[in-house]
């Protein structure tokens, strides 16, 4: 049946068939709602699917996954292959040119498809299924891996047929993929009609049985077969959906300019895609109808999904080629049959389609429609790059680096109403003091600024003539000062536009004296150490003193640098370090109610003059309190004393605290009820219990004192209240739960490395940061650690290179007549050398007036980061459940808006533009993040620390916390490796966070930002164990292994190079924990598998269904 349908499609009617398909789809969706992916498709399918299909579907997906393991591209292809198959005929035609690479892939994929297809036919009944079912089986993960292996074999037979299709697909999808396109073409020519069928059949067939089950592993034996069939139906449906999108895609094209060019090049590789984009879409609609008939019989869309996924991966892999991807995806998405139609059209219309492509190039890759329910492998194999604003090339070239300055929408809506309609948050994410390898520094007696708005001259101003420039923020025309006419770089005169200020979006000025209110302050460091019994027990003092001794010469500063120490338990101890004393003198103040400084002049001493005394003190401190029995902690009074000490100069105080302050001012009570840690309902006590710390922080902020908090506690410490001290004084918070010098060696190492970084990193004192933006835009809310002093001014007593900020923006006046808008962040600070400096970052973004352009410019990572900040605020002011709802609604609203306003063709399924395809995944990840999760036991302090980090960390690191990266590390190879300073760093692909990706025979590294887990499968290859871990067998892997032994084997070198490379990329030190299956940490590791279902949270698939339900309401 299906074949016939396909044929017709292929021939000419494909288009028509597609059309039918779509129509069917609509119906299906309605019914489907209940079900899952399958539902989207036709009802008939659903029933089937419902029964068993879901599992199959997964299998389908999984298979794709397995493939992927083999090769990133391949893996994607697996999915695509299926689709491709169907498409094969059409696609092949299109793709053929490109296909060169695809062939390789095709075989495997095809193989899988082949089997599946048969199954599909057979299985169609398997109905629907429950996607949830898949998820439900968390354990299956392992199986999948196996399946992968197995899959290939089954594929063998089908492969021949299918391969051709895949080839094409592959070609479309990823040019990058090695698979060759050509095969497909040939293949399908023979197989075209059959392939479609085959694909359908295949998908299902695999299911039939064994093939699928094995491949899918997760599907697991029983389910696998049935699922397969269901899958097949799905696949079809998916296809339809994809088709739909493609058509829509073209319309949106606004982005075109940039994307197109890219796409085209890509296209060359994947020529097929273009066809798809153009002709394919229409055909697809028609095909659907045809398919429908078939589909009914076909299983749910899982298979399709699988295919799609595969295709998606391709896309992901080949993100670069927007056009290609677009094209490919649609194709891939479309079930094989559909694809065929596409392909059919493509081949037939190749030249026309190509032409169309160029025309349509307008459709940006970012807007390619993705049916999330059908495409499973959406995660790109490499870190996601920030989208590029659609600007003229010369502007784009000099624009601020996205790691420093990034906007959630790279195209700014013209009006607030347009922004409201898009339902996406508008905001900026900044990392203003980031350590930069190249930073132009300008010394000049006059810093050129706009006379009206005080904007610093930047690359986006326009020069009216040699003597005048027009501000790009307020549009005032200013004079170019005489001095600016001379260019110190080229030593020429009369070229103001060649000055470094006008050539660099990030620049640093050395400020003249007008920028100082007082002489630049010296670097002043005050350490406040908890020495109560509890603190001595943890043994942190030794580590701290040793670290400081080691790094005492690396503290940033000049000859004026001052240091001081205060220790406290129930009393406050000061240390007189005045020059001339033979040894440090301890002064004890026991009147903590009315604190005073015993000898104000000699407590803070010049580091250079008194270095020996300081060193003496550091050496004796750990032993000084060894026998203490004092258990109380008067932190509040110690802070007041420290504040008084730093009052005249400003500076930085670092607090090391190990327990709840329970004496004197600032006393806190334990508010956590351990029985409520896993409460599914609201979490209490997320806001501070007292405003003592906040008020003190504001006082500190006013005196240019920043407070950094190191919390090393095994018990509840009320971070919600204590954290305020750092939050409003622009400090940072470090938290080492359950720190103990013997019991938690990983924490100790982490603490050591963090301390080293903390002590030696750059620091800016008495800083302010002002964010200016083009007239019409205004700042709504700031997120991060600071005190907001004015609507656009942040007071930062200290600024450090690891601090990130987020800003919500609103549009107050219509940006009519503007092509671009600019944002400028200027950070004025005193360097540790006593220089006053201004670091200026300018970002320029285009203004657009259509919703599709706004969606095309959405930056899903930045949006996620900003939403996380907003949710943290919401949890504190309202409640955690409110915050969770708000995040879910953010996803629903933006996708609804996209569906209603941008999509011209309504299709079933959960449709998202390609640029937002990861949005639901990230939202789900946020919901499962420590900060926001419910139902899983989470200590209040852990939760609050996660919240602090979400607000305070720069986006790159926050994203790792939200969505950890999973790599397979037992088969690292030098293929595609980076070469960094003579070290070869392998680049394994990023895997989805699903147990299905795990395999007992492999080892996986999960990078969760602040911690890394190395998970060793039970049957892990002995080679890996001996060569990398240095143990003879799995059973002998120690439980508390946190270091990779330095073995002289290529495997070990690769693994260590990779882990080291990951660590080098971030300023803090992620500890590494080796986890075995029986390990206590296994639950922690598994909690990060966010695509899987847990007792208290939805699986990714279920979450998508939930979104779909809400959207279709």
């Amino acid at each position: 049946m299906s074949t016939a349908g396909f044929n017709s499609q292929n021939g000419t009617g494909t288009g028509q068939t597609y059309a039918n398909g779509p129509s069917q789809n609509p119906v299906a969706p309605q019914q489907l709602p209940g079900v899952g992916y399958g539902m989207a498709h036709q009802p008939t399918y659903n029933p089937m699917q419902a029964k068993a299909p879901p599992p199959p579907a997964h299998p389908g997906l999984y298979p794709s996954g397995p493939y992927q393991p083999v090769t990133p591209v391949c893996s994607y292809q697996p999915g695509p292959p299926h689709t491709s198959y169907p498409a094969a005929s059409g696609q092949s035609l299109l793709t053929r040119p490109l296909m060169g690479g695809p062939p390789s892939r095709t075989p495997p994929q095809s193989a899988s498809p082949g089997p599946r297809v048969p199954a599909a036919h057979a299985t169609p009944p398997p109905p629907a299924v429950s996607s949830s079912g898949y998820y439900t089986n968390p354990q299956h993960p392992m199986a999948p891996a196996w399946q992968y292996n197995a899959a290939p074999q089954p594929m063998g037979p089908p492969a021949t047929i299918s391969t051709p299709p895949r080839g094409p697909v592959a070609g479309h999808v990823n040019p990058a993929s090695s698979s060759t396109g050509p095969p497909p073409s040939t293949a399908y020519s023979p197989a075209p009609p059959p392939p479609p069928h085959v694909s359908h059949n295949v998908t299902q067939p695999p299911g039939p049985g064994m093939s699928r089950s094995p491949q899918h592993g997760y599907t697991q034996p029983g389910t696998a077969p049935p699922p397969m069939t269901p899958m097949a139906p799905h696949a079809y449906q998916p296809n339809r959906a994809p088709y739909g999108p493609p058509p829509t895609g073209p319309p949106p094209p606004t982005m075109k300019p940039a994307p197109l060019p890219i796409g085209l090049p890509m296209a060359t590789n994947a020529t097929p895609p273009p066809p798809r984009a153009d002709g394919v879409p229409p055909p697809q609609p028609g095909t659907p109808g045809l398919h429908l008939g078939h589909y009914p019989s076909l299983p749910p869309g899982y298979q399709n999904t699988g295919y799609q996924n595969a295709s998606a991966p391709h896309n992901a892999t080949s993100p670069m080629h927007p056009a290609m991807q677009h094209a490919t995806q649609p194709y891939t998405q479309a079930p094989p049959p559909y694809q065929q139609p596409h392909g059919g059209p493509g081949p037939a219309q190749l030249s026309p389609s190509l032409a169309a492509m160029s025309l349509q190039s307008t459709t940006p890759e970012a807007l390619r429609v993705v049916n999330l329910l059908q495409e499973r492998n959406l995660l790109p194999p490499t870190p996601i790059p920030a989208p590029t604003p659609c600007l003229q090339q010369d502007l784009q070239k000099i624009n601020c680096h996205p790691e420093v300055f990034r906007s959630t929408l790279t195209s700014i809506p013209q009006t607030q109403s347009l922004l409201n309609k898009a339902k996406m948050p508008l905001g900026l994410l900044l990392h203003p003091f980031k350590d930069l390898s190249q930073l132009p520094v300008v010394t000049s007696s006059t810093i050129v600024r706009c006379r009206s708005c005080r904007t610093y001259i930047n690359p986006f101003v326009s020069f009216l003539d040699q003597r005048r420039w027009k501000c790009n923020l307020c549009f005032r025309v200013n004079d170019v000062p005489e001095e600016f006419m001379y260019n110190p770089v080229s030593r020429s005169y009369g070229e103001p536009h060649k000055r470094p200020e006008v050539q660099n979006a990030t620049i640093e000025f050395i400020a003249p004296s007008e920028y100082m209110l007082r002489p630049p302050q010296p670097a002043v460091y005050l350490f406040i150490l908890d020495v109560s019994h509890n603190a001595v027990e943890t043994g942190y003092l030794t580590v701290f003193c040793q670290s400081l001794l080691d790094n005492i010469n690396a503290l940033p500063g000049d000859s004026r640098t001052k240091v001081g120490f205060i220790t406290f338990d129930s009393t406050i101890h000061f240390y007189n370090l005045q020059e001339g004393l033979s040894q440090p003198q301890m002064l004890i103040v026991s009147d903590i109610e009315d604190i005073f400084l015993p000898t104000p002049d000699s407590l803070l001493v010049n580091l250079n003059e008194c270095k020996e005394l300081v060193q003496d003190l550091l050496k004796s401190l750990p032993t000084l309190f060894e026998k203490t029995m004092e258990t109380q902690s008067a932190l509040g009074s110690a802070l007041q004393a420290a504040y008084k000490l730093l009052l005249p100069t400003g500076g930085r105080m670092s607090i090391f605290q190990t327990q709840l302050p329970n004496l004197g001012v600032g006393t806190l009570q334990s508010r956590e009820d351990p029985n409520q840690r896993a409460a599914a309902k609201d979490v209490q006590h997320l806001s501070p219990a007292t405003d003592f710390y906040k008020k003190l922080a504001l006082d500190c902020s006013g005196q240019q004192v920043a407070v950094d908090l190191f919390l090393l506690s095994s018990q509840y410490c009320d971070l919600a209240s204590l954290g305020c001290i750092s939050r409003y004084s622009a400090g940072s918070v470090y938290y080492y739960p359950s720190y103990h010098h013997q019991h938690t060696p990983a924490q100790v190492e982490c603490f050591q490395k963090d301390l080293k970084r903390y002590l030696t990193r750059k620091i800016g004192f008495e800083a302010v940061m002002r964010i200016r933006c083009t007239k019409g835009l205004s700042i709504h809310t700031f997120h991060g650690n600071f005190f907001v002093r004015s609507t656009d001014l942040l007071s930062l007593p200290n600024v450090n290179p690891d601090a990130g900020f987020a800003v919500q923006m609103s549009i107050e006046e219509n940006l009519d007549d503007m092509q671009v808008v600019s944002f400028q962040a200027a950070l004025l600070y005193t360097s540790s050398k006593g220089e006053r400096r201004i670091r200026v970052h300018t970002l320029c973004l285009p203004v657009v007036n259509s919703l599709s352009d706004i969606f095309a410019g959405a930056d899903v990572q930045a949006i996620t980061g900003l939403l996380a900040c907003m949710a943290v605020d919401r949890s504190a002011t309202a409640s955690l459940s409110d915050a969770r709802d708000a995040m879910t609604n953010a996803a629903i609203d933006s996708l609804t808006s996209y569906r209603q306003s941008v999509l011209t063709i309504q299709q079933p399924g959960l449709l998202a533009p390609a640029c937002l395809r990861l949005f639901p995944l990230f939202i789900l990840a946020l919901l499962k993040q420590k900060a926001f999760r419910t139902g899983t036991s989470t200590r209040l302090d852990d939760r609050l620390f996660a919240m602090c980090q979400l607000k305070y960390q720069p986006l790159v690191y926050a994203m790792l916390m939200i969505h950890p990266a999973l790599y397979r590390v037992d088969d690292l190879s030098d293929e595609g490796a980076l070469n960094i300073s003579e070290r070869t760093v392998p680049q394994p692909r990023v895997l989805q966070l699903s147990v299905e990706k795990l395999s007992r025979e492999a080892a996986f590294l999960m990078d969760a930002g602040t911690v890394m887990y190395l998970w060793i499968g039970r049957n892990c290859h002995p080679n890996f164990l001996t060569q990398v871990l240095g143990v003879p067998s799995y059973a002998t892997v120690p439980d508390n292994l946190y270091l990779l032994p330095e073995l002289d084997t290529p495997e070990s070198q690769r693994t260590r190079a990779f882990v080291g490379w990951l660590r080098d990329q971030r300023p803090f030190f992620p500890s590494l924990q080796v986890i075995r299956d029986e390990s206590q940490l296994k639950p922690t590791f598994m909690q990060n598998m966010i695509e899987d279902r847990t007792e208290s949270a939805l699986s990714y698939y279920e979450f998508l269904l939930h979104l779909q339900q809400q959207i279709s309401k």
Partner: protein, 148 residues
Amino acid sequence: LLLLLYTNAYGLYHMIIAFDELKTDYKNPIDQCNTLNPTVEKVKKIKRVKIAIKLVLPEYLIHFFFCVMFFCAAEWLTLSLNLPLLAYHVWRYMSRPVMSGPGLYDPTTIMNADILAFCQKEGWCKLAFYLLSFFYYLYGMIYVLVSS
């Protein structure tokens, strides 16, 4: 009594001005103000927040006093007109941010655009209410004087 009310309206007016300054000031810091002068700016800003804080409690107390007076004079209609506002004041004060001293506004959140806009709107609404009641009381007083 009238005088008191007038004082209240006047105080509120100042509060609105203070908020308005908070919002608009430094947004267009035209040449006049050297924006790089953080201390001056900061002192001003904090002063404004403090003004606002200092004005809140007296306003609430005066309004409460009025209500008590109306109650004593058995002016039920007038009292019922004022009760909603009284209830609002009580609620507002109960749900204020955590702070040890008296006051309504938190300097760390007041610059949030939503909160600032809300405070301003609240100020304008209450000003309008006080003015209307002022004329209403005036009318009532004259009416009483004339009729007696």
